[in-house]
Symmetry: C2
Subunit: 598 residues, 2 copies
Amino acid sequence: MRTCYTGQVCRDHLGQTVTLFGWVHRRRDHGGVIFIDMRDRAGLAQIVFDPDNAEGFAIAERLRNEFCIRVTGLVRERPAGTTNSDLASGEIEILCREVEILNPSVTPPFQLDDENLSETTRLTHRVLDLRRGQMQRNMMLRYRVSIEVRKFLDDLGFIDIETPMLTKSTPEGARDYLVPSRVNAGEFFALPQSPQLFKQMLMVSGFDRYYQITKCFRDEDLRADRQPEFTQIDCETSFLNETEIRAIFESMIRHVFKAVQNVDLAETFPIMPYSEAMRLYGSDKPDLRVKLEFTDLTDVMKDVDFKVFAQAATTEGSRVVALRVPAGGSISRSEIDNYTKFVAIYGAKGLAWIKVNEVAKGRDGLQSPIVKNLHDAALAEMIKRTGAQDGDLIFFGADRAKVVNDAIGALRVKIGHSDFGRANGLFDNVWKPLWVVDFPMFEYDEEADRYVAAHHPFTSPKDGHEDLLGTDPSKAIAKAYDMVLNGWEIGGGSVRIHREEVQSKVFRALKIDAEEAQLKFGFLLDALQYGAPPHGGIAFGLDRIVTMMTGAESIRDVIAFPKTQRAQCLLTQAPSPVDEKQLRELHIRLRQAEIKQP
Amino acid sequence: MRTCYTGQVCRDHLGQTVTLFGWVHRRRDHGGVIFIDMRDRAGLAQIVFDPDNAEGFAIAERLRNEFCIRVTGLVRERPAGTTNSDLASGEIEILCREVEILNPSVTPPFQLDDENLSETTRLTHRVLDLRRGQMQRNMMLRYRVSIEVRKFLDDLGFIDIETPMLTKSTPEGARDYLVPSRVNAGEFFALPQSPQLFKQMLMVSGFDRYYQITKCFRDEDLRADRQPEFTQIDCETSFLNETEIRAIFESMIRHVFKAVQNVDLAETFPIMPYSEAMRLYGSDKPDLRVKLEFTDLTDVMKDVDFKVFAQAATTEGSRVVALRVPAGGSISRSEIDNYTKFVAIYGAKGLAWIKVNEVAKGRDGLQSPIVKNLHDAALAEMIKRTGAQDGDLIFFGADRAKVVNDAIGALRVKIGHSDFGRANGLFDNVWKPLWVVDFPMFEYDEEADRYVAAHHPFTSPKDGHEDLLGTDPSKAIAKAYDMVLNGWEIGGGSVRIHREEVQSKVFRALKIDAEEAQLKFGFLLDALQYGAPPHGGIAFGLDRIVTMMTGAESIRDVIAFPKTQRAQCLLTQAPSPVDEKQLRELHIRLRQAEIKQP
């Protein structure tokens, strides 16, 4: 039997005989003695094979990297000068008395500690890739997060109730993954995009407090850092208002960070209305580590000669903002050119700027191609509102609000994270959580020419905003809240609609007529008629939270067996073609013309 | 804010003002006073509305069943003679000071305490069905089981690692649920039948101890008590042998029963080889509560005149058994006729029997149509082996072993559970867990004319049985074990193959050639080459365990939103037809001819 994990052997075991199971991480022959760094999930320990133990030494000579072995030996101090303070076992070594090869290994296709592997190599050989210390730590940290979430919620009386994976397709929102039914020919299940409606029904059933850490599915194009299947910490509670619900889940996140990483998050998370987040940061998930803010100048630029500004300032739905970069005067022209290319990605047609050489000199102290087209009053107001000082740089965005927000919002983050930003105190490298609240109920979808739900159609309007659903949906504010951390939305939730007549009003605002509502959501409308309690909840993205906590570059580094951006598993070669018999049983056939022959 | 759950108000709150949230369970008007039984997930409490509180009384008059309400009131003792010892709150009542209707309810389609609802009604109105006390308790107990499992495994260093839901189809075993890929035209994912190969790969990756409580999927015909999606407690560990692995999971189940139901299961579960289970009970999941055993008489009946016995006794693969029923002489002829019909379900062509009136009289003391065709020596040996006493009844099975085992095995359980069995001490109403071990590696599949894996193809043969894989697969015994409880297999597992050459031998024994093995399981064979550790594990059926613990009639009573036997969700109407656009995106079309038009 194993004494302990290999990586746990330490001074406490000095003089003891221990038995360990693990892998050969590295082998060195030195001065007639063989040294093995032996590895298991807890870390490394050094095994010494002395030629005096002829049998053990002979086996040790056959050992190669990644052989799986059992070792029994005496724990002793390392000779002076050979200790390794990076390891828990760094002060000891194990003199082998007995060694057994449990399973040999062919030569691995790469060194486990090679830091420069392509992601294709890593995902193809995922079983070996997962042996790397960083990946082991990532998976263990992920586990600690999930278990601490469970402990916290269990203490508060939340109960885990499983909801179905084979559910109904309701094509509202993202694209569903479909599962053809064999028994019910021509019909399909959908994999859940979230357990939203089931958890609401559990509230109507009176379970009061629900949670689930569960897989959700979205068949979207995997830009950036998405996965076809992702894990949600899904929670719902009855009889609490927005403030009470936020308080619970703010505590939960604080608990997790403290328990798993011994990090103290802010005692109270700031609460920021959506409108303020957009005004100051151009984003509903502002990275508050970056100490830069927008200054709105729309009202100031209405009558300037610079047409780009004047037009944006006088067009409904457009805006003009300044982004003051303290000490930004040292940013070179070529860097400004790079930033100009960068904002173009977000649709900005240019990037105006002014260097503030000497405020006291007024217009003459400003350096920029656009200064001549801005009148004195505008320049003075700009200096006043931004609080610009000598040596600052001011960037401008003037366009449709969306373009300005996206482009200058991204620029704000880029400058904050840059070497310049870090060197000049524009970046505070700590955890900066906040709540963004008071989202609009609806966004206008130009393509569909109708309103769509900003969160989802089951979100409650603010008290007093119900009438706006019929009269001016664009003005209706929702009881919705997002938890934002360092520029990422890590959780989103809302108080839900618990009255059938309000739910029907929302469907009408979304141009979902009564018949369609009944067909798609009849079971919800039905449930709401039987004394549904006031309820609300939230869902956190576990993959994202763990990615941030581990500092991983990609969520694929915190998922044991992820898919590539082409939604493939390189390890098992899924998806794959299936037998004609299987298709026949499911009453489907392939659209041959579209499918490239193997 | 809520003081506590409604069902928790008790003597401790006497004299206090409490605020409760819940539902109107029942309303009674009595002597000018209105009484409400108010309900939440913790139970009931009695609310009294006195006409002195005119405002509250007026609201109370509007209350109907299932209205959702908030009540604030004074906790006082119930008048003498009106206490209810069935309720935690049975000694107190709450005199309402303030009541608010949070949401009214239309009249429910049935009374919540109606015990005679059809399952169709219950599943269609699942949201209301789940409000019933029994369903609330079932879901809470299910949660307690899962959380106790997690606590136990966490303490032992098992870590929860999520494995993919979108996996590769490997049509070996049950039928897969398929998910068409949009990005990879003509290809399909499969929903996992179990995370078997992923957990093995996690062992190869060195995670050492893994668990997951996860959904698995099988697209089978839903006879009996199966669900298309079911929940598995899936566990795997490295470096332990069969005995060590069983010890851990035996402790786990003991812990769960103790923690959740305060039940002490046997300190050590009996261990029974498969061959003995089949010999004594005709089943690999014997219900040991039933105190009846088979007596094998195959060798005794070779030369009797009764052809049914003689033929079975002399045919390879057939057997003759007796089932002695103590005091069974009182079983009537018509009951025996019913048992004869019962065994016919299992393929038995008849049911021979002998009543033992007086052992001392030898042949003359036996009453049966078949006695005349059995010679003295056979009768004497039968009496001796069965240990029959005066007043007993002996049933016989003689046929192919499978028919005998199924038919007489089922008869054994039926008699044990019958009123007769319970009255005559043949049924011990306690928890009777055991391990069944030493399963054969393979079963012969007559239809496919080849061996198939009895457990799954990754199960290790017993030490010394490796050579049999090539020479006589039918004799090879596996390191497999099932945990059986009261006639149900609640868990099954094995030590896995950790050497590539053994795995290849098993594939060959299964007539899976090298090319096919590589195509389907190449990633496993590959992984086994890199120092895979010895490993093994087990998977428990959570739905089944909870069904047994709650005493529910069906696993559908321990699943919040189950499917019917036609694999449909009556609440949401899944599966359902989908848009042509969705099918087009998935590169599939329906086989129209097969599909009944809506």
